[in-house]
Symmetry: C2
Subunit: 341 residues, 2 copies
Amino acid sequence: MPPTLDDVARRAGVHKGTASRALNAATRSQVNGETAKRVLAAARALGYTPNAMARALRTARTQTVGILLPDLTNPLFPPIVRGVEDVLGRHGYTALLANTDNSPDKARTAFDALLARQVDGFIVATARREDPVVRDALAAGLRVVLVNRTTEKGHVSAVAGDDTAGISQVVDHLVGLGHRHIGHVAGPEATSTGMERRFAFEQAMRRHRLTLGPHAIVEAGGYSEIDGATAARHLFDADPQTTAVVAANDLIALGVLQVLTERGRACPLDVSVVGYNDMPFLDKLATPLTSVRIPHYELGAQSAQLLLDQLGPLPHQPRTILLPSQLIVRSSTAPPNGTRQ
Amino acid sequence: MPPTLDDVARRAGVHKGTASRALNAATRSQVNGETAKRVLAAARALGYTPNAMARALRTARTQTVGILLPDLTNPLFPPIVRGVEDVLGRHGYTALLANTDNSPDKARTAFDALLARQVDGFIVATARREDPVVRDALAAGLRVVLVNRTTEKGHVSAVAGDDTAGISQVVDHLVGLGHRHIGHVAGPEATSTGMERRFAFEQAMRRHRLTLGPHAIVEAGGYSEIDGATAARHLFDADPQTTAVVAANDLIALGVLQVLTERGRACPLDVSVVGYNDMPFLDKLATPLTSVRIPHYELGAQSAQLLLDQLGPLPHQPRTILLPSQLIVRSSTAPPNGTRQ
DNA sequence: CTGAAAGCGCTAACAT
DNA sequence: ATGTTAGCGCTTTCAG
């Protein structure tokens, strides 16, 4: 029903091969200027749009990339996706999304589904440090860019926030306020963000010559508010003298705040809390949360650009790009209680 | 490189036609049980996945649907998208997203891009009441389902929240608290949600025999916080005795709260405020916002189901489904100031 | 029940 | 500079 290349060619009085060349910017030079003009006019008149499926079948490139996400409803990811889509769209590419709900099984299924659709490459936001899907994709020679989370550095292109710098700023801020007993609710060690923020925390504490009690770091089961609350209970039970908590992300920080409330302790009066990611509306909370801003849109945009580069003709080295983080101080952090007088 | 149907057929010692029939659940009955088993085994052994492009080219169905969204970073949409994707995925379909940033131009571009990719149908969350894209899509016989926003009812399938019931509950609640001077910051009249919530507001006020001053309703330029703030300034300037404001959505309500703060008036002490949509984290705000919950995930899921129905063989009437809304009372609403004593 | 063959719409190698 | 041809991988008639 929709007009085909043959229709356009017929209307322009040329062969469809010529029409194809005229329509394609890269091959247009092979065609007489007048003829090209006639073909373009015919195409416009008929409202011709090339059939992407036919083209894909012929060229073995779909101009489509797959995005593997943990969960689109986590406010962290929409800006990343927008960044990816905006850059991709500018180059005629489209993104296919898949949510994995943090399940390796679903990740595998989603990956296979995307592969069946012949995506040209993958942007992966679900990576675990040891990730079978990423490993297999790489082994199969597929183009992959990691975003936000990474696996081991170097093997594969990745764009992430600079967690070491971010956490370092957080600890400096807290120490500057006078805190000495600082705890950390870490993210899952299976993720690079969990491990690196934890490592950066230990490093920063050491730099300030602050001792870490054996229970100063508790690993949350996941990145949700409820995971954060569970971990925070352990932390406060084991280390009641804690005056500040660095959370691995904002949702976990919300869980920490919740536990504070349920125990009748005030933030920041009794305990200061810091989140990570600076998700939307943090400034409007009952306790406006101090957090670390990561340029998420930019993360997405740059990862898309990196993938586009890899899709190009010239071979490309894997690159890791670290984007700067920025501490946003709000009122969930203040000098420790004992300091006031 | 990846195995093709021919490879599978060869390994099973049959013709590719037979292999195709064996692999396809719908045509499997046409094939000898033993043969089918052999083909399946061969496919598994080779790790065969059908090439979706080739299939699409042949069948003229891509098993892909396009979703037109205003903006994925608006917290309203991710749950809708998840609902759509979960249902679609269960039926072997995939969704292609496009953000229009509320621009009719971008909507057109995105629509064309989706069409070029031969999507089987559209889920449209960007509809204006008079929407050229929707009109053209319908005229071209494309399958379309509207979600959240509608055009005129009846012509096209749609799934939306029950705004009349929702706003009605809001007004009942406010009147029950003792409010008489209630204002409304409406959404853009060009959108069904803007118009219907406004109409429902007028209706509910009339039902309570409350008069509406000429400035009791102000239309916001859009659904953002800043649009809400601008409109709220007009409203409070024109109607200073207003004790309660019904906002057309949560972001607008946030803008109203901001204006209250900048004018040194307290919520809910001086003015009660109600949002709409019950977006995430409203309960954690400095002023926990009373709002109307819409089952957004369900909205997405049902719209996907409706589209799937339309894609099926039997002809389908356009249907409009209204999902129930639920008032969530939090502390941004209280009796009017004068009532306390 | 299975094989043969055509063809979806396009691009690219080859021929003119 | 343009026309011709083959074929991407699949489904689906049509024969047998």
